[in-house]
């Protein structure tokens, strides 16, 4: 135990020194950006909960169900992200060579690393959960002790996926040490997604069905059903109950809280013993097998002698890093599922009015997805040059040119993605072409701005000593990039809502189109984007050129 605390302390000291190096302006901008984001998310949940409370009979039930669903989805996501981060925390991190050489017991190394891994994999999630907890509590006028106890329960809850993910990895690495990281990820993802799918199939919590029915009796039946849907064995359900009972000040909270606490401890203990048995062994085995090398004959085997080479290098480095393309693959699969889910149209999609609304909501959603993708894949791209940046800085190529190459390439990919998504989703929604025409044009600007924000901020806030892109994206710089991108999308949606609303009231309420308003808002959008495209790139290049490296 004391060894564990020692290792933990080393982490905290290095964290403290990185906080100390921040200046006042940075700290204030952190607080501002986080404040705005937390406030916005809080408001969003608050509105949803308030609305649900006002819906008779099923509203409150639905509210609890949504909480449980959200925690269930987070559970799966955290499981997946824990798997990816723990492969590098437990096997590829350079520090391990040192730790294993020191007279520290493997169990202590495991606990310290588990802690580190959970923090890395979960803290972004916690930022979304906090506003959720607060808005839920405030909507239901929960007693004061609700807040600390709810937050504490959620933190305990977040440890479970970490223990499961690491145990699975230790076992699989020990049994099959020859497996490459890529294949380990494949197998575990297949396993987890398969089980999830199976579980959902059995329990069939067909939440969306409610929107497809208007009959009062059906609604009642549905609400009845919801309360009895399985899942009583899932920790996510307990967390939902904990929040529910806490908010009513009910004593039944103790039962679920103790249940969660004991189950989490059991998981930690089991994982700890598995680690003692498997971790060191698998670490050594994997090291042995990975030192074998093989010859590679890629496109860059040949000499081209122009800037194309730099682009090829970026692509090769990307595809040779499993963390990168596995996560991109997951995003892709989720997007495909999303697009196809649009096909199963609930009834009011068939009304033209709703189609337009859905199409606009879909546009907003796609923009948010791209904002996330940008933070995960574009923001780290300067940091990932690592000390190669020495080479670039000392050679006759300007940083502006490097940024230009990266910018154009990322823009190209982003535009293809966003236009493809818009096109297919709108075909399925059957949007009116007159309305649709606005979206692809706006999307080009959105793509150009998002790439600029992430690349520019990535150049302003590079982190050359970290080689794991998901950690770079989950670090302070990445979180700020995410918040700024999301803020940008928010403003975009607000501006574009003006012409969209105008179009709607023209088509369905037969009000006249207000051309000055439409032109003004579109011109405003263009102006806004000139600023968001040029600004971040310019500032990023300037700040990078001034930097000592």
């Amino acid at each position: 135990m004391s060894e564990f605390l020692l290792l933990l302390n080393a982490r905290i000291i290095s964290f403290k020194s990185s906080v100390k190096s921040l200046n006042l302006i940075r700290i204030l901008s952190f607080i501002l950006v986080f404040g705005v984001f937390l406030g916005g998310a809080y408001y969003f949940f608050f509105r949803i909960f308030n609305y649900l409370l006002s819906v008779e009979i099923i509203g409150p039930v639905l509210m609890n169900k949504i909480i449980q669903m959200v925690f269930f989805i987070f559970f799966i996501m955290l499981l997946l992200s824990n798997i990816i981060t723990s492969l590098s925390t437990f096997y590829n991190s350079r520090e391990l060579q040192l730790l294993f050489a020191l007279p520290i017991r493997p169990g202590a190394i495991y606990l310290a690393k588990l802690f580190e891994n959970c923090v890395y994999a979960s803290w972004a999630t916690l930022i979304i959960i906090l506003p959720l907890i607060f808005s839920y509590g405030i909507t239901l006028r929960a007693p004061f002790q609700y807040y600390p106890l709810a937050i504490f329960s959620v933190i305990i809850y977040l440890i479970i996926p970490g223990t499961i993910a690491t145990s699975l990895i230790f076992i699989i690495r020990c049994l099959l040490p020859k497996l490459r990281s890529r294949d380990v990820i494949f197998i575990l993802f297949g396993l987890i997604l398969g089980l999830t799918f199976f579980y959902i199939r059995i329990n069939n919590p067909d939440l969306l069905k409610v929107f497809a029915t208007e009959n009062q009796r059906d609604l009642l039946m549905f609400a009845e059903n919801l309360t009895t849907v399985g899942g009583i064995y899932l920790p996510s359900t307990w967390v939902g109950y904990i929040l529910g009972t806490l908010s009513q000040g009910s004593a039944r909270f103790h039962f679920y809280f103790l249940l969660l606490l004991s189950v989490t401890s059991t998981f930690v203990i089991i994982a700890f013993y598995l680690a003692r048995f498997f971790y060191t062994r698998s670490w050594m085995l994997v090291g042995e097998y990975q030192s074998r090398m093989k010859k590679i004959h890629s496109v860059l085997y040949h000499y081209y002698g122009d800037a194309k080479t730099f682009l090829l290098k970026d692509i090769l480095v990307f595809v040779r890093e499993p963390i990168q393309w596995v996560q991109l693959g997951i995003f892709f699969i989720l997007l495909i599922i999303y697009i196809f889910s649009l096909r199963r149209t609930p009834i009011y999609f068939t009304i033209p009015l709703w189609r337009t609304v859905v199409s606009f909501a879909n546009f907003a959603y796609i923009c948010f997805i791209l904002a996330t993708l940008g933070v995960r894949f574009i923001f780290p791209s300067i940091s990932l040059e690592q000390y190669g940046i020495w080479l670039l800085r000392s050679s006759p190529i300007s940083f502006a040119r490097i940024i230009k190459i990266k910018y154009l390439f990322n823009l190209f990919v982003t535009i293809i993605l966003i236009e493809g998504l818009l096109f297919f989703s709108n075909i399925l929604i059957k949007t009116d072409p007159k309305f649709y025409i606005m979206l692809p044009i706006a999307a080009v600007l959105v793509a150009a701005s998002l790439v600029s924000i992430n690349l520019g901020w990535g150049a302003h806030y590079p982190q050359f000593n970290e080689d794991n892109p998901s950690r770079i994206a989950a670090g302070t710089g990445g979180i700020i990039a995410a918040l700024v991108s999301i803020g940008y999308v928010g403003i975009t949606i607000v501006i574009l809502a003006i012409p969209a609303y105008n179009y709607l009231s023209n088509t369905y309420l037969k009000k006249p189109l207000s051309y000055p308003l439409i032109i003004l808002s579109l011109a405003g959008f263009l102006l806004f984007n000139i600023f968001t495209i040029a600004g971040p790139l310019y500032l990023g290049i300037k700040s990078f050129q001034r930097r000592d490296i």
């Binding site: 090398m293 730099f310 090769l316 020495w390 000392s394 190529i397 080689d467």
Partner: protein, 243 residues
Amino acid sequence: MNDSKRLIIKDLKKEFNGFWALKGLNLELSPGEIFVLLGPNGAGKTTTLKLITGLLHPTQGEIFIEGINIKESPIKAKSLIGYVPDEPFIYPKLTGREFINLVASIYRVKKADYEKRSKELFEKFDIGEWIDELSEGYSHGMKQRIIMCQLLLHNPVLILIDEPLVGLDPKTARTVRETFLSLKDQKKTLFISTHTLSFAREVATRLGIINHGELKFTGTLEELAEISGRKNIEEIYLKLTEE
């Protein structure tokens, strides 16, 4: 301005958060010189080299390469430089060959030159089939050899090297030494920082002793021997850096 000088450094100063790592360095190097900078840990050697290559920005002072002010036309100046940092980095997910191709492309080496020189260099530095394996599995010496190849491939006239011999086996170390001497004969200028005194004795045409951010002495080995009153290079070094 003296155009026949390859490198001119005027009153170069560097401050890190109130700490002066370099306190006014003046130096001129001509073609065909091998200047070796000696000094204790933390004396300011790496800082000097990084300032010349543009990795760091000077707090004060000017640097000219072939008469070109590096602050005014950095790209033009940098195309004349070759730099090897103290901890050579190769992208771990690239092979040695891919890395060399990347660097040569950035320096716009012509294809014909590339083919001719790469063949010579691979032979000279005994590059094996491992050049087509991912560099994450290379030993320190293998990386150093790849770095030497990429350095010489773009044919720089001013070569800056921080600690060239760390991790090289005796045979490669000798190749490096011979390469440096032949570069001198081709009228290139080398600026080398090292702790290996025997190496300094064998290749240097001029030596500099730096301590606490100040260039205390410069001169040939004979001149330094006279100043210090010692004969052996180790004795000279210890005498001149003592304080």
